[in-house]
């Protein structure tokens, strides 16, 4: 499998390099769908300039990325394009390896279940064959590298690529079962943007199941494992925050980064839901609705964990989807990461009834975003409602697709007469 993967990587790098050299790079770097106030490259350059002058990069409310990123680019600013290409490559390879390992486990579980004759004979079509599963990791890497969203994000030099790389490495180490590295990468991801905190729950579920610790609240072994993981996680988070403090010399990065993510002061339009709502909100209710919107992201962790207890990798996929839809400053780069997981559950896609509708809506909205932006800002004949309508539609399509995936996955995972009933309804 190395050869096709290498070919894919070379192709991806070529496309990106070609786009870097063209005139489209500047154009893409300014699109609000691709960059946000958190991830824009322009702001990183501004922060670097301030750092060179000896002023704190967070002075002036321009730069909102973490201190480790700015010190990384302090050394790599001349090789920025190569850095982002390498980041994409790392993400793709991490996803490839992770899905390969996951598939091995799924196949093993399926073999045991087959031998125990838990599957009724009608649902043979749901059982995956090794040939199908052989190409899935390559498909995942391809979905990520050749996704137009990813290419746009890389060409715009948005730091979202770095966030995606860290999350992909976290997924890889979790699936491989390495507790310490999983905790470290998760804390790095949380340090970058707060929302990956919700990935703690699926990570814990997966790791406990891999180590055959039963997920039972009355068992001591379960709590002992949770305590170990929490200690590693919190410890590495603490180390990173203190490291940033010592690098910069002050605590003013905390309100600039985390305060900015949580309190959403910048209402530049993007493909998220926050900007329009808070632009029209009365001052008196702003705090309340801010809390509601932020809780909304963390809200789905517990119910989803309860329902999807046996499918932690699917839970990771769900959480990534929830984060990239509901976070305060989403960009297309976040969407690209969870779209890469679609081939893993390709065997269920024939049961998704509205897949055609959803795909068409997503494509149409992606095409309409620049059109309505131009009409609103440059031609002046539309207004913010038009753009927000397309944003809403885009997010509704994503949510709809996520919900149906969950339903179908849950239905497909229960063995026994429920399986039979689902086959009956489908056929």
């Amino acid at each position: 499998m190395a050869a096709p993967l290498t070919l894919l990587l070379i192709l991806a790098v070529t496309i990106r390099a070609a786009l870097y050299r063209s005139s489209l790079a500047d154009l893409i770097a300014e699109r609000v769908e691709v960059v946000s106030p958190l991830t824009a490259w322009k702001r990183v350059v501004e922060g670097l300039a301030l750092l060179d002058l000896g002023v704190s990069p967070y002075a002036g409310d321009v730069f909102h990325e973490t201190p480790l990123i700015i010190y990384l680019f302090h050394f790599l600013v001349d090789y920025a394009e190569i850095t982002f290409m390498v980041t994409d490559v790392i993400t793709a390879v991490a996803l490839y390896l992770a899905v390969k390992d996951y598939n091995k486990q799924v196949f093993r579980k399926q073999k045991y279940a087959l031998e125990a004759e838990r599957y009724p004979l009608d649902c043979l079509e749901l059982i995956r064959s090794p040939k199908e599963m052989y190409y899935i990791p390559l498909k995942v890497a391809m979905f990520y590298l050749l996704n137009p969203f990813t290419i746009l994000s890389c060409v715009a030099k948005s730091t979202c690529g770095l966030n995606n790389a860290v999350i992909a490495l976290f997924i890889l180490t979790t699936i491989k079962g390495n507790v310490l590295l999983s905790a470290i990468f998760l804390s790095l991801a949380t340090y970058q943007s707060i929302y990956p905190l919700t990935l703690c729950a699926p990570a814990l579920l997966y790791l406990t199941q891999r180590q055959y610790i039963p997920v039972n609240f009355r068992r001591f072994s379960f709590w002992w494992f949770v305590a170990q993981y929490a200690f590693m996680y919190l410890g590495s988070l603490f180390v990173m925050i203190c490291l940033s403090f010592f690098l910069l010399g002050s605590w003013d990065y905390l309100p600039s980064v985390y305060g900015f993510i949580l309190s959403v002061p910048d209402l530049t339009p993007n493909i998220g839901l926050f900007w329009y709502f808070f632009a029209e909100m009365f001052e008196h209710f702003r705090l309340f609705f801010l809390c509601v919107f932020q809780i909304n992201i963390f809200f789905y962790t517990i119910p989803l964990s309860i329902k999807l207890k046996e499918h932690p990798v699917f839970l990771i996929f769900m959480q990534l989807a929830v984060i990239s839809i509901f976070k305060s400053y989403p960009t297309v780069g976040d969407i690209a990461l969870y779209l890469a997981f679609l081939p893993v559950w390709s065997h269920l896609h024939r049961f998704l009834r509205n897949i055609f509708l959803v795909s068409c809506v997503l494509l149409a909205c992606s095409a309409l975003f620049p059109v309505l932006w131009h009409l609103w800002i440059y031609a002046g004949s539309a207004n913010s409602n038009f753009y927000y309508a397309i944003t809403l539609l885009f997010n509704v399509a994503q949510v709809g697709r996520t919900v149906t995936e969950t339903k179908v996955h849950l239905a497909a995972s229960v063995s026994g007469f429920v399986y039979r009933s689902c086959c009956l309804t489908v056929t």
């Binding site: 009365f282 008196h284 209710f285 705090l287 309340f288 609705f289 809390c291 509601v292 809780i295 809200f299 517990i302 119910p303 989803l304 309860i306 329902k307 207890k309 229960v414 063995s415 026994g416 007469f417 429920v418």
Partner: protein, 563 residues
Amino acid sequence: MLFKTVNLRRRGQLAALSIAAVVILIGVPLWWRTTETYRAWLPVSQIQELANLQLQLSADVEVVFARGTVTPEQQKKVPLTLTQDDEHVVDEDTALRYRYETRYRTATIMEEDALNQPTAAEADLSLHTLSESPCGSLVVYVIPESSSLLPEDVDVYVGQRRTALLRIGAQTRVGRTLEQLLSHLEPRVKQVLQVMSFSHTDITAALSDRVRLSPGNKESIADSMRAFKSSPGYEITFSLLNPDPKSHRLHWDIEGAVQTYIQPLLRKLAPLANFSIDSQTLYYAMLGVNPRFDSSRSAYTLNSDSLAHVINPVEARLGSNAASSNPVLNFLLYVPDAHHSPLHINDHKKQEVPSNAFHSPRWGGIMVYNVNDFYGPEAAFPVDINIDMAKVMGVFLAQLRLLLGVQSSAPPPRFLVAPCSSAGIADWELDRLMWSRSVENIATATTTITSLAQLLDQIGNIVINDNIAQQVSSAVTSLQLAVAELESGNLRFALQYSKEAILASERAFFDPSLLHLLYFPDDQKFAIYIPLFLPMCVPILLSLLKIVSDARQRRREKHAKAD
């Protein structure tokens, strides 16, 4: 397999219950805390105490007996102090108490020498060099009947500072006891106090903001409406109106005149308020009234009835310093045009007013200055005319005193009041003004604070920010201090605290931040919550209902199985 589905359903219920738990346990307290109207703490109990105003005004009087008024035996008993209280209840919330602390003593040798001067004015002057009375107090010198200081028909001479000379009446003969003497003097000293310190009518007039009093006769209504209400600052504007620049080129040295005549008075009134002066010249400004030619006096005349119509058309052209909210006193000097000169103002009895000026209550004054005597018929127009500022400023100064409330009523019979000092206002007149202004400020400030507290109590939608609470607290503190200082007789401090109290209470009352959420009806709040929360709550409610109905069905099945 049944077990697995039951397990699954139970997990689904658990998931729904967890959502409901988060909504209720975290959502509702969050909503309550973040959307409540911010109300800082106010000292409500202290404000309610202030609503019931018990003012005590203390005046210190020193009565000095000159030689010849008391016998030597009485002289030994004389150094004594008496305190007298007069209580008046104005209405159910307001009560006044006047406390007179009278100290009796005999004159020192230096004071006797001063009293031996030929005239009262000189005696007054030399008495001043001896001692300085503090603000708010009085010294009354009792002189024997045989003294030649005062003329025949005058019993009391009121000096320029805070002294008065009182002549003992003819009834006092040697042989009277000290008590009889004191009881004879007491009403007369009180009469002097009424003129020089405060009288009940003045103080109740100052309380008019708080207490509705039935108006007295016509003169007292006019007197009470003339003076400007107490304000922390006043703007004084002098305007020269020249309707005929083609004939008259007018020159007035207004800066010098203000410096010489007006500034001394304003400097003396500095503890009362801040004054700012400006001046302007207005060309082609006509009076709104056509004067009638009176052939018997060969002059144009303005009747007293038409004076009311003069001001309005002029006022529109005057312009004002819009940057301040202080009341403006306008003093207009009108030089009639060549065709309507000379112009005289007639009073009600159709007599010429000697000063040729009139004033309008709470607005200002107008003086007509005739210049037809300065040039002959063959003069080349335009004629240069220098206005005699001494005459003009004399009239304006008198009007300024009236408008600021310095002089309100004529003195009682057999009283001789000394002419004003060079500053234009006597010390005791200033004291009178300070008494009434302090009381007025305290009354207004208490009314404002109590009505603000009532308003904030009744309307729950008003936001009380921290700065409002701080202003209210400082107003309450200043008011309490002002009342305390009035009680102990420190007039200057009482006035200063009362001014601070008024400033703070007005600032708190009219602050725009109070109104942020005032007109926010509750149904608009629903319009804010429903678009987001109603669709969110529908699935939660439905699943909760399903759980309840499932539980009920299971219980019914269990009962059916049991039977």
